[in-house]
Amino acid sequence: MSLSRRTLFTGSLAISALAVAGCSTDGATSGATPDTSGPIYFGVSGPKTGVNAEYGKAWDQGFAIALKEINAAGGINGRQVALKWEDSQADPKQSVPIAEKFVADTSIIAELGDFASGASMAASSVYQDAKLVQFGFTNSNPKFTDGGDRMWSTSLTQEHYQIGNVDGILADGHKKVSLLYLQSDWGKTSFDIFSARAKEKGLEILYSTPIQQDGTDFRPVLIRARDANPDAVVHIGYAPDGGLVVKQLRGLGFTKAFYGGQITQQYIEVGGEAAEGTILHDTFLVSDPSPRVAKFVATFRAEYNTDPGFFQVSAYDALTLIVAAAKAGGATREGVFKGLSEKDKKYPTVLLGDFSFNEQRRPAGAPLKKIVVKGGKFVVG
């Protein structure tokens, strides 16, 4: 009895080791003979579970609409386009093994994501070494595209956003603000850019504090922010925390201007009545009358029965754009890179209009709009 069990365990150990080894051979063989008739794959590294799960869901919706349109129009040179999703939880620890997996899978011609700049940047060296394009379309950290010439992004940088933010707040006639920002790499980098610009332009920051993304009670710091007696309270963060911040801030009797939140339905939903009058500086607006936006919004509503948010549009634009690049340069890893590198090529996007890349592999020029929440909707202010 004891002997057989012992053997069993040794055996299971051997099997798991072989399983580890075995999976590798799969990847290697499929790599030896690239398939030229089956679907063309893009790898997606993004959050499907964990605190950022909702953003992965938003991506999925945007991707689905893009895929439908792309494949209905014949895919890339007649070959269908499909995605290989890996759940990273937007966690830098998990994005690296995913990168290694994508790099080894030669059916993948480019990667989309990760959601968080930190998770993307942790994996950048893997993609750069393998010369696989890493398309971090939501990575606003300016350092992301510094990772190498294979790092591309359609996201405006935090510099772009925060400089526009400070200038907009000053243009509204405010001189003193209290400020809350997320205690993350993104939040702190944004805050640094904001305060540098504020100092330069004479906007006084009376009180500032980091806040936690998964926090639920911000009242103690909001009391402090209110008591500093500012012209406006500024929040640098996402929709869920922004919604709670504005709700609790108004609950503390602060009636002056609030800059913050995020252009998503979720912000309006979480913030409710209190979100009314919130001011944001951003690019996308559902009510934008331009035909391209109107068409996308109509398609999205027909599919999901709700308005698209920033992340759905970003995902749609990103996939559409990278497919266009693959069409231009060829459906290979090198081809995608070649397509993206074409000088002054214009891509039609929903978010940023006729789009082209600048030297930093970022969007060239895109003015921010002043957007206000009115009657539960985002409108141009």
Partner: protein, 606 residues
């Protein structure tokens, strides 16, 4: 001032209401129920669904929530608590943790993951004191807390079942002999506490104005801290603990910003335990209770490999894996070895000294940062960083935990949990040294002399070498005289002390050894990931390390290696279905503890 106080009181009230459930279950069953937070979140989500989707009035909502969370509580008890009534406390600690993972994930699948606004079933902003608006909901919540506290006091004092609950709490065996149906009483308390948690969920969601399926983890942990501060098992203690925590947090956060919230919460926990080792209202039991791990020594013997089996394992590790595995699979193999390096020496702490640490992420983080800073800022070679990582992690973690080893039972593990949060919070806020939330990018890869390691295949050799050294050191330590003394501390602390063994010192020593290797693993992690930030060291890292030694067999160093293969490699291979990955993980964990409680690598004595 007044407004901060009121904010703290209201938030503390929410903690108190949840903490009562935690304390009730602990008092009766001696189980620290990690799933309580999940039941609170489930209650809130059920209420959200009944109001927003079902358009039901408040009374129906409350009844619905009580029924749903009561029923889920019953099922949780049936699978994750009841079967472990006679098992050492660590079993139920891990199974309720697994249950909370399963519940959160199921709730996410049923209700969709996003955070949403919670409907105002009661007014939340119609009243005002000192510039703070609050609502009928907060007043009702306060009334409910008092009612629950008072009701439970009367019920436990005079009610027939209530007296049975108290009898069971005081002495299970005696109660059973007196004809108290102990098992039924335990189940009743669990269902009662679960329904109470669900009800609390409604009011917590009303207070924060939002709810999400994954809110349970934070709520559960904080309530758990509140209950511990008050003294586990004491209902009034839980209420006082909740209010104290709420007020201290409010003033602390007002003063120092929201970034240090974890530091305040868990710092308070440790401070209270240092001065009141059983919480504000708890009593230290005069007789030392059985250690958390039970007396495992009699439970079984390690499976031993003979020479040819070792050769086979060696061949797989040294020949087959490097030769056949691809880069991604090597990356998985590296993760396995890193967790083995953390887990193997925990056998000395858990298996020998009988102490449970749920804070092992702390020394890992300390080691990782020490090494990165040594190599990047002090320009010292990698090997110096690696060694310093171990030494600094051992020294700092040991000094931080020095006051906790005189605690007993669950309080030790709760304190180590606190240490895990405190260490990460300090790293997050100490920007000038650790670069805080920015993280450290561009950590140089491991370099030994002129040899630069760059790929997963290179790292594998380094990790394997360190892993083998760890295993040999721990095996040698365990079979030494020192190892025997450590084991005496775990098997019978009173006897060991009577024999003149300074038990506390040996616990500290066992922890220091485990922290040393955890620090080494942290250094490897830092240089191989080439990136560091405080989110790399979550509580899940600590619980995973603990789970590894329990699954492998808590007395067996080789078992810890098997445990990390099962728990680290298998989820990676299950990546094919990310949606059910977490679910399966929880189910497997419960199943292993249920059907092979002594661990995979330990044979029961026939």
């Amino acid at each position: 001032m007044l407004d901060t106080l009121i904010t703290g009181l209201i938030h503390g009230n929410a903690y108190a209401l949840v903490a009562v459930g935690v304390s009730l279950i602990f008092g009766v069953t001696n189980v620290v129920n990690f799933a309580q937070g999940s039941l609170v979140a489930l209650g809130a989500m059920t209420a959200w669904w009944l109001v927003v989707v079902g358009h039901q009035p408040l009374p129906v909502v409350i009844i619905g929530v009580l029924l749903v969370t009561g029923a889920v509580g019953y099922i949780t008890d049936l699978f994750a608590v009841k079967p472990f009534g006679k098992a050492p406390p660590i079993a139920a600690l891990l199974t309720t943790f697994a249950a909370s993972m399963i519940l959160d994930r199921l709730s996410q699948l049923v209700f969709e993951p996003e955070l949403r606004s919670f409907p105002e079933v009661l007014p939340t902003t119609n009243l005002s004191i000192g510039g703070v608006r609050f609502g009928t909901s907060d007043v009702v919540m306060f009334g409910l807390t008092l009612l629950v506290m008072g009701g439970l006091a009367v019920y436990l004092r005079y009610g027939r079942t209530g007296r049975a609950i108290r009898a069971t709490a005081q002495d299970t065996d005696a109660a059973q002999q007196m004809g108290v149906p102990v098992q039924r009483i335990r189940t009743i308390s669990f269902v009662l506490a679960s329904a109470l948690g669900g009800l609390a969920g409604i009011f917590v969601a009303l207070y924060t104005g939002s709810t999400s399926p994954t809110a349970g983890m934070t709520i559960g942990l904080t309530a758990f801290v509140a209950a511990t501060i008050g003294g586990l098992g004491s209902i009034p203690g839980a209420v006082v603990g909740g209010f104290v925590l709420g007020i201290v947090e409010a003033f602390g956060v007002y003063q120092f910003g929201d970034g240090v919230r974890d530091l305040i919460t868990f710092g308070l926990l440790i401070l209270v335990l240092v001065f009141r080792p059983a919480g504000l209202f708890g009593k230290v039991s005069a007789i030392a209770s059985e250690p958390m791990t039970g007396t495992f020594l009699g439970a079984g013997r390690e499976i031993r490999l003979n020479a040819w089996q070792w050769t086979l394992v060696g061949l797989i590790a040294v020949v087959a894996i490097p030769l056949l595995a691809s880069q991604p699979m090597l990356a998985v193999a590296n993760q396995v070895i890193l967790y083995a390096i953390i887990a193997v020496p925990m056998v000395l702490l858990g298996g020998s000294a009988g102490q449970i640490s749920i804070g092992q992420a702390a020394p890992v983080a300390i080691g990782a940062y020490t090494s990165a800073i040594t190599v990047m800022d002090l320009k010292l070679p990698f090997l110096v960083g690696l060694l310093l990582a171990g030494v600094v992690a051992a020294v700092v973690a040991t000094v931080l935990t020095l006051p906790i080893w005189r605690l007993t039972g669950h309080y030790v593990s709760i304190a180590t949990l606190g240490i895990g949060f405190v260490a990460v919070s300090i790293i997050r806020n100490w920007d000038s040294v650790t670069r805080g939330a920015y993280g450290i990018t561009g950590v140089p890869g491991p370099r030994i002399g002129d040899l630069r390691l760059t790929s997963a295949g290179d790292y594998y050799w380094l990790n394997l070498a360190v892993g083998i050294i760890t295993l040999l050191v721990v095996l040698r330590l365990r079979s030494s005289h020192l190892g025997t003394i450590m084991a005496s501390v775990g098997s019978d602390e009173v006897a060991a002390r009577s024999a003149g063994v300074r038990t506390r010192d040996y616990k500290v020593l066992a922890f220091a050894v485990a922290a040393f290797f955890a620090g080494i693993a942290g250094s490897l992690l830092a240089h191989e990931n080439r990136y560091l930030d405080p989110t790399l060291f979550p509580i899940l890292m600590s619980t995973l390390a603990l789970t590894i030694i329990v699954v492998g067999g808590i007395t067996s160093p080789v078992g810890a290696v098997v445990g990390s293969i099962v728990l680290v490699a298998v989820p990676e291979l299950l990546r094919l279905t990310p949606d059910v990955r977490i679910l399966l993980y929880g189910v497997v964990l419960i199943a292993v503890i249920r059907f092979r409680p002594q661990g995979l690598w330990v044979r029961r004595n026939a």
